[in-house]
Subunit: 196 residues, 2 copies
């Protein structure tokens, strides 16, 4: 048996995550059977569960990957920009989020262990959002009358609403203009665009 | 067989809806079997499906009841006040919403017919929110630089985020202060509280 390089291992892990994501988005958590996971990942159950202990571990790894990717984009471009991109292309990355979001939310609702792990991953996104707001605040771009913790949670609440809205397949309507209102409401009055 | 008054019919219908709501919230849509629905409603399957054609019709009737109730509270007190109440007592009415919300969102995602009906019910809430904003605008309490359609959708987006957040059992954190930011961002600058 040929030795497998760490690049190949990483590529296989990614292949499983991508296929599993599509499977969970389409069939739901319960509906994503091992047989369907084999089909969408193109890997045998032996290979899949070599990389991930069980279905829940696989599902959590997707949540972790999503949170990390979102955190990276937020650090570079800000959470409002992430939301604008979600809105303009809800089916592309980083909008892979929308497909599995409702499944994850539902699992978080009924499974405290899953909820705890999910909250831990979400903390990365919160950290990135807050760090960016701190930089904006330091440059005087943000309103100063509201605590950064509140502004961070405000932006995250809007994100939750947006992802939920898009995940349901509801029309975007005026959401582009809504995001303008959101962006403006964290900015210093009369200030220049903050790219929060 | 004694005749049943229309009050009694209405009471039974309500009993079924209340029991079914708890059942869907606890077991999910697929998990809410006819047997479980019988247990939580205290009615036979014959009685349940005398009032509602099938499980989907029952689920939709709950969505309709939720939307109507929210619309009534919004007309009286405004959407931000509804959100404050959701936050202070997420397990009580009108927060019955949070229990079944993720199930409905998930069904809307995968079932276009369900999504269409749900959107029709949501239109009642949108109408009530908009009507209230129009009254506030007429009295000069709202900002005038953003279209009412945008402000309506803004408030609804925050509601979607809040219901989703609470439905997952995530901590409220600073959400009370977040709602202050939301309320302030639809008000006329320097104006008095608008109770939007």
């Amino acid at each position: 048996m040929p030795r497998v390089s760490s690049d190949q291992l990483e590529a296989r892990r990614r292949q499983i995550l991508d296929g599993a994501r599509a499977c969970f988005a389409r069939h739901g958590y319960e509906g994503a059977t091992v047989r369907r996971l084999e089909q969408t990942t193109g890997m045998s159950r032996g290979a899949i569960f070599h990389y991930f202990r069980d279905k829940q571990a696989l599902f959590l790894a997707i949540a972790e990957q999503d949170a990390r990717m979102m955190a990276e984009v937020v650090a570079e471009q800000g959470l409002v920009q992430v939301m604008r991109e979600l809105l303009s292309s809800p089916d592309s990355r980083p909008a892979g989020w929308t497909g599995t979001y409702l499944e994850m939310a539902r699992k978080a609702r009924t499974d405290p262990t899953f909820r705890e792990s999910w909250q831990a991953y979400s903390a990365e996104l919160t950290g990135a959002t807050r760090a960016r707001l701190e930089r904006q605040a330091a440059s005087g771009a943000l309103r100063a009358d509201v605590d950064l913790t509140v502004l961070t949670q405000y932006l995250e609440l809007v994100l939750e609403g947006l992802v939920s809205h898009l995940a349901m397949g509801l029309p975007a309507g005026e959401l582009g203009n809504v995001l303008d209102v959101v962006e403006q409401s964290v900015r210093r009055a009369g200030g220049s665009p903050a790219d929060v």
